[in-house]
Amino acid sequence: MTNKLAKLIFYLGTLISLVLFLALTFDTHRQIQTLTHADQLSEQVVAGKRVWHKYNCNDCHTILGFGSYYGPDMTKVYWRRGSEGIKAVIRSPEKFTTWRKMPRLPLTDKELEDLVAFLQWTSEIDTQGWPPQDQKLRGAPGRAVTLGVSPGAVLFQEKGCFACHRLYGTGGQQGPELTHVGSRLSYETIEKVLTDPRSTNPQATMPPPMVSHEERDRLAAFLAGMK
């Protein structure tokens, strides 16, 4: 190795890498607008991002896989829990956590709405199919929705039922799988459970869903149809 060659490696190596990197950065800026649906980056979403920073959520939860690993990843949390599910956890984390705790954070109602908007926007970023464990979720509610074009299915996702229950094998572990619940329980029974879970089973640990009468009936109709 001559001195000249060594210097050449230094200058050429640096230059090639730098030029390539800057060119791709330029192009990324253009494409990222579509990949992240930047047109839907509303003021509320940005306000939600500030809330995300304000409470330092990121030093326990990863988002896009970055941050700390103490709690679950938040990239697709909107798919997993829906807006009501997310709000419920933040309002009373002690009800949803077991042996690893999350702090009770003093978010205002507005902050909570903004944060949910931010997480909903985030869940739509095209992450090339990451994280692997959440990809199936896209299918489950989607499938339920197309099955009956059911408003109940949408509520099932938005009200956070997925936090504890599974449909087609995806969802939380605390509650029973509900894919075929319609063949086990009648519409009336399901309606009772949704009004007050303890009315059919005094030991039930499920919290009564926060739904209006109308929403409850739609949910019951959807679930009764899951045979």
């Binding site: 304000k54 030093d59 896009l64 990843d73 705790k101």
Partner: protein
């Protein structure tokens, strides 16, 4: 008199503060592992959440490593330029400013004052004080070098690396509305630091100390330094792409990031071979062997932690499953330890005896501390890795819930608490030894 220039003394308080912060960092690290292993009561989590302690752990790390680099730079620059530091007063002022900012930031974290961006939590306007501290430093070092009017490659690499480092921090200052763009530039700070700017600083400091302790010809060292720097920048700049696979950026980053970052271990390997070669062919009669042990140990663990553990999850096919898991933590710990913690420890062991006026010192405690810390850190890395592989398999491959995977991993965090305490022991020994160096016992050892 072992000090060629009296202004080299400004390095001492930098080292002192760095060592104390290192100690604190590791205490907090053990607390983090404990938070993973046991159930913390809800009331405690409400007032001292994991997020706060994690921010403290990582910010202390960055702060003390940078103070260490700065102290070492102040120690080295007079010898390289053959003149006193431009202004020792500014050096003390800068230290006061940076430590004051750091302490304020940490108290602020405890009170919930944060920018909320991992590793870069220091909020406005403290982040601007950090920039001010960095500017004072660059000015002071820059003036010394300019007035000396003799540039060496080592100086160039050191100064270039420091400027690069400071400039990259600027990308942390704005607020980015788009989350993906936010992370895109977050990595300009984090990745281009540890796999770019800091590597330049490390290569320069290592080359300088190796010349000093082995007396190999400077031309030889500088020739290979050019090659190393070139390879670091060639692989490291475009290699930033290994963080762009899943953040909403175009698909070509899978190719670019994968290709360039897969080559990143090469310059690190070259550094290992270099250090080994210079030490084998040394021409100096320097007493003591601890500094050589540190130089070799550092370069090997740099390679294992950054090169090997980094390569292990850098290809997109693997990163898809390991991204953002405890595998990342395993790599983060060994890479930082091998590359930058040991570099600082080596620099301290080179500079401290000279600052204390000791030609030879008793190396037994220091040697023990090196092995103790290194073996413990290796075991910690293995424990994090086992937890990470479990997590990857249970959560990502099998698709079971997050907490289901955590339950499987819990045992390994209990092990990590024990290892953390052991590391703490090693760190205490290092700190105590460096602050109370004793003359070598007559006839106790000879290299």
């Amino acid at each position: 008199m072992l000090l060629a220039y009296s202004s080299q003394r400004v390095a001492y308080p930098y080292f002192l503060v760095a060592l104390l912060l290192f100690l604190l960092q590791v205490v907090v690290g053990t607390w983090l592992a404990l938070s993973y292993a046991v159930t913390m009561p809800q009331w405690l989590v409400d007032i001292l959440p994991f997020s706060t302690t994690r921010a403290i752990h990582t910010n202390l790390l960055v702060l003390w490593l940078l103070l260490g680099f700065m102290g070492t730079t102040y120690f080295m620059i007079p010898e390289e330029t053959e003149r006193e530091i431009f202004s020792p007063l500014l050096a003390y002022l800068q230290l006061t400013l940076l430590v004051g900012t750091g302490v304020t930031a940490i108290v602020g974290f405890l009170l919930g004052w944060t920018k909320g961006k991992p590793l870069l939590e220091i909020p406005f306007p403290l982040d601007y004080l950090v920039v001010a501290g960095a500017l004072i430093f660059l000015f002071n070092v820059g003036m010394t070098v300019i007035q000396a009017k003799q540039w060496t490659l080592i100086q160039g690499s050191l100064f270039g690396g420091l400027v690069f480092l400071a400039v990259m921090y600027l990308f942390n200052l704005p607020f980015y509305a788009n989350l993906s763009i936010d992370w895109y530039y977050w990595w300009w700070v984090i990745h281009l630091w540890v796999e770019g700017a800091w590597e330049l600083v490390a290569a320069a400091l290592t080359a300088w100390i190796l010349i000093k302790i082995t007396n190999v010809p400077r031309e030889l060292v500088e020739k290979w330094l050019y090659v190393e720097l070139g390879l670091f920048l060639f692989t490291g700049i475009a290699g930033t792409g290994h963080h762009y696979y899943w953040l909403g950026a175009p698909k070509y980053w899978l190719w670019v990031g994968g290709f360039f970052s897969a080559l990143e271990p090469l310059p690190i390997l070259l550094m290992v071979l270099d250090a080994w070669h210079y030490i084998r062919n040394r021409r100096a009669g320097l007493n003591g062997r601890l500094i050589f042990t540190l130089a070799v140990g550092m370069s090997i663990l740099h390679f294992v932690g950054a090169g090997f553990w980094g390569f292990a999850h850098t290809l997109p096919q693997i990163n898809y499953y390991t991204h953002g898991s405890q595998v990342t933590v395993a790599h983060g710990h060994l890479a930082f330890f091998g590359a930058y913690v040991l570099l600082n420890i080596m620099s301290f062991y080179y500079a401290m005896p000279r600052l204390e006026g000791l030609a030879e010192f008793d190396e037994r405690r220091g040697t023990l501390a090196f092995w103790w810390m290194s073996i413990t850190m290796m075991l910690m890395t293995l424990a994090f890795s086992v937890a990470g592989v479990l997590q990857t398999y249970v959560e990502r491959v099998m698709g079971l819930g997050y907490m289901t995977a955590q339950a499987q991993m819990r045992f390994w965090f209990a092990i990590l608490v024990v290892l953390g305490l052991s590391l703490l022991g090693g760190v205490i020994l290092t700190v105590v030894d460096l602050l109370t160096l004793r003359p070598a016992l007559a006839g106790a050892k000879k290299a």
